[in-house]
């Protein structure tokens, strides 16, 4: 199964970006989801929230723009856009928990067929647990998208009947964007919206999760 080749990270980021409604307030998780910001059209009106206290975050800071007081959730120096605001941590998470963010996009170790998310801890003894804002984001945003590779490095599916890693949140994920397919987590089950370099029949043999074929006629 490791011979399956889907689309690259930037192509996937472009697909996620195209699904974010114009004017949305969005939080992009550390790692892979950060790439989405590179593909948002300049006129999209999407405002980026970072949980360490800013709405209206700009791109990563270049050399002479670096300011140690202006960082994103990954502690990477960033810039600020006109119309931005700063706020303290309790306000930042009230924004999230209160349902004021339209979309958050997170990475994941595993997502279950019911939309349970595991992305903060491997659970292995000796691995230092670190949760950060993952649980708050997953349960607080109106829609939580996951962006990940469909298979782990050792070829095991990360979309699973039940998560075996420690949970981040219950039933919180609505869409899963992967290198091989885009999945919609629906009340009637997991639907496949897009396929990348794999056909529906093959995908059903890769995953232990029943799939509904809702593939779009013309995938991007």
């Amino acid at each position: 199964m490791s011979t399956l080749t889907g689309i690259g990270k930037d192509a996937l980021a472009r697909i996620v970006a195209a699904d974010i409604p114009p004017g949305s307030f969005v939080n992009l998780g550390i790692g892979l989801p950060t790439k989405i910001s590179n593909h948002l059209p300049p006129d999209s009106g999407v405002m980026l929230h970072t949980e360490n206290g800013m709405l209206g975050m700009g791109p990563e800071a270049a050399d002479n723009q670096i300011d140690p007081d202006l960082v994103n959730a990954g502690k990477v120096p960033v810039t600020v856009l006109p119309g931005a605001s700063y706020f303290h941590h309790a306000d930042s998470f009230a924004m999230m928990r209160g349902g004021h963010l339209d979309v958050c996009v997170l990475g994941a170790y595993q997502v279950s067929a019911r939309g349970d998310l595991a992305n903060w801890h491997t659970g292995k003894p000796g691995d230092i647990p670190a949760v950060g804002g993952a649980m708050d984001l997953a349960t607080g945003a109106r829609q939580t998208f996951v962006m990940m590779t469909l298979l782990s490095r050792d070829g095991r599916p990360k979309l699973v009947p039940e998560c075996t890693y420690p949970l981040t949140g219950l039933g919180c994920v609505s869409r899963v964007y992967t290198d091989l397919a885009v999945f919609l987590i629906q009340p009637d089950g997991v639907a496949v919206r897009d396929l990348f370099g794999v056909d529906f029949g093959t995908l059903t043999t890769v995953l232990d999760v029943p799939l509904i074929d809702q593939t779009r006629k013309a995938s991007p």
Binding site: T50, N52, V71, F93, P129, G132, D136, L170
Partner: protein
């Protein structure tokens, strides 16, 4: 009701913080971390500390140095593990430091609750996860919540951009982070600032932390504080 004390050194600003104290430490990584105050605390010799902070130190300065020197008995934080948290990692693996892991929003709200006189609160964050183990839960309108309690400090160490001579504070960019809520949540709040200005020089519309939360202020040269670590 005590009025703010403007002090001449970071060492004076942290005077009286004793062994076993619970210390709220502002900052998100390095941004807003009151490095000069933490290093003065280190110099002052207090040990067996409980530290409440988002992270568990970066590199060799500030909170990382405090952990390296074995002064922290327990840390309450959301994200201890980072690429440069080697002193925490080592202490944790050696069993030399206790970790209470709290989701970042619950951490912030627990601190806020302490300053706002809230006895406890129900939050959806963490429900159904291992971090809810042992906590009281309740279903409200069909949604699961868990009960979280306030986090109070004996002392809060924070970094702000400017103080006026009454102790009103303004912050700078994302260095604000935990400062305003920690200032309200401790018996004694100590702020290191880049500049102290006369009363009236801060626009009341812009004051973020009103002076009644602030007990001690010290002006420090941040560049010196960051580069001055020679231990």
């Amino acid at each position: 009701m005590s009025r703010v004390a403007i002090l001449g050194s970071a060492l004076e600003a942290v005077a009286g913080i004793g062994d076993g104290a619970t210390v709220l430490v502002g900052g998100f990584g390095s941004a807003g971390q009151p490095v000069a105050l933490i290093e003065a605390l280190l110099e002052g010799g207090a040990s067996e500390l409980t530290v409440v902070s988002n992270n568990a130190g970066n590199g060799e300065f500030g909170l990382a140095a405090l952990i390296r020197e074995g002064r922290v008995r327990k840390i309450v934080c959301s994200f201890p593990r980072q690429s440069d948290s080697w002193h925490f990692d080592q202490a944790w693996r050696a069993g030399a430091i206790e970790l209470e892991l709290v989701p970042q929003g619950n951490l912030a709200e627990r601190i806020r609750a302490a300053g706002a006189g809230i006895g406890a609160f129900f939050t959806p964050t963490g429900f159904g996860t291992p971090l809810a183990d042992g906590k009281e839960t309740r279903v409200i309108d069909g949604r699961g919540y868990l009960l979280e309690y306030p986090l109070r400090g004996d002392v809060a160490l924070i970094a702000a951009h400017k103080a006026d001579e009454l102790g009103n504070l303004v912050y700078r960019k994302t260095a604000r982070n935990f400062g305003p809520i920690m200032a309200a949540a401790a018996k004694t709040t100590v702020a290191q600032v880049d500049e102290i200005v006369p009363v009236g020089a801060l626009d009341p519309e812009h004051v973020v932390t009103p002076c009644l939360y602030v007990d001690r202020v010290v002006c420090v040269d941040r560049n010196l504080a960051m580069s001055g670590d020679t231990r």
